[in-house]
Symmetry: C2
Subunit: 205 residues, 2 copies
DNA sequence: TAGATTGTTAATCGATTAACAATC
DNA sequence: TAGATTGTTAATCGATTAACAATC
């Protein structure tokens, strides 16, 4: 498949479709249509059909999509038909919240370690984890073969930490630090900054 | 101000520019160019100039933009030249993290109350706040005139809570629940779901 | 003046929508 | 069959980039 030429914007919507479909499955539904799914996620039926059809013909005329089958296909496309090990960098409030968050279960991710460069924090327990020394981070990540990280350190420390993650072989960084990161082209970054999200709404008030 | 319709996608980038500019200001810089700002945020210089020029002529040929002046203008455009009161719904792990988060300071937001519908949690202290009963939520929000909310309740409770927020006059919801919300057109929603963000990256691994 | 950089126009590129034949 | 809904094409709409005159 020519995964290379699928626009980012389409990839960005697939997890939203997947989440809605999983919710429908939990409610015991068996099939849905582009129309119905579109109403759930706030996207036009035409766009949903077009997005999905980039990857194959998963629907049936007249009846729509099998929810179970479409979930299976989307999980495979997004590569969350497996469990990804994830490391957390930064054992502050946000690091704590992320480690204790239950929402990664069943969505393809499993936290395996948390690091901090503050010697005071190293050794402390967070949930079932002991905070590890950031000095050991690169070697530990390499030896575990971890490709996905969540970065929850202060802005001033974020770029240096990201550089280390890249060096350790991490290819996907979910960045909670309020700063834009510079990384090589083959490394993906997603940003979560609540202030940014709030500021995207106040314009309209 | 210009009555012309500004595309959402441009509004979405302005907070990122603002954050980068504030960082430059903190470092003592006085002026910048579209080129330099673009390198910081990973956006082309042409696009930055085009975005900014939607709102006025804030730069000078030959020298670029005054950082302080551009910050001032962007804050005004985004309406964060003031402090918005914010309520938090849900006193679970995420509610805790959000209330304790220091990153809203200086970015236009101030948390004023936290609510939960679990009577066990009502009255407990989180930071300097006492968790309030969700039954009182609508009246409290109305009387305080709060327009911005952060929703950190389980998926199953999120739509009902959002309906209440709308009823109370809230116009902007930052939703941490893993579900798409249905709200009237005049209410804005932004979504934060770490699993969604992670799934947007695994495709490329 | 000489060099730098904006604001803006036109061209290009990409995304969304509408429509409908195919077909379950 | 009759009705429903997909997958796809073509048209429309919108966003990005390139280029450069204006001008600090």
């Amino acid at each position: 498949m020519n995964a290379r030429k699928i626009p980012d914007i389409i990839i960005g919507r697939l997890p939203v479709y997947l989440r809605a479909l999983q919710r429908m499955a939990d409610m015991g539904l068996k099939t849905t249509s582009s129309q119905e799914l579109g109403e759930h996620v706030g996207i036009s039926a035409a766009q949903i059909r077009k997005d999905i059809s980039q990857f194959g013909e998963f629907g049936k005329q007249g009846t729509g999509y099998s929810i179970e089958y479409l979930i299976e296909q989307l999980r495979e496309i997004l590569k969350v038909d497996r469990i990804w090990d994830v490391v957390v960098i930064g054992a502050g409030d946000m690091g704590h919240a992320v480690v204790n968050y239950q929402g990664f279960n069943d969505r393809g991710f499993h936290i395996v370690a948390i690091f901090d460069n503050d010697k005071e924090k190293v050794g402390h327990e967070i949930g079932k984890f002991k905070v590890e020394d950031a000095e050991t981070m690169i070697e530990r990540i390499k030896s575990m073969g971890v490709k996905v990280a969540m970065l929850a350190v202060p802005a001033a420390a974020a770029q240096a930490a990201a550089d280390q993650l890249v060096q350790a072989g991490v290819r996907a960084i979910l960045n909670y630090a309020p700063i834009s990161l510079n990384v090589p082209n083959n490394v993906k970054v997603q940003y979560i900054d609540p202030s940014i999200h709030l500021q995207r709404m106040t314009f309209y008030l």
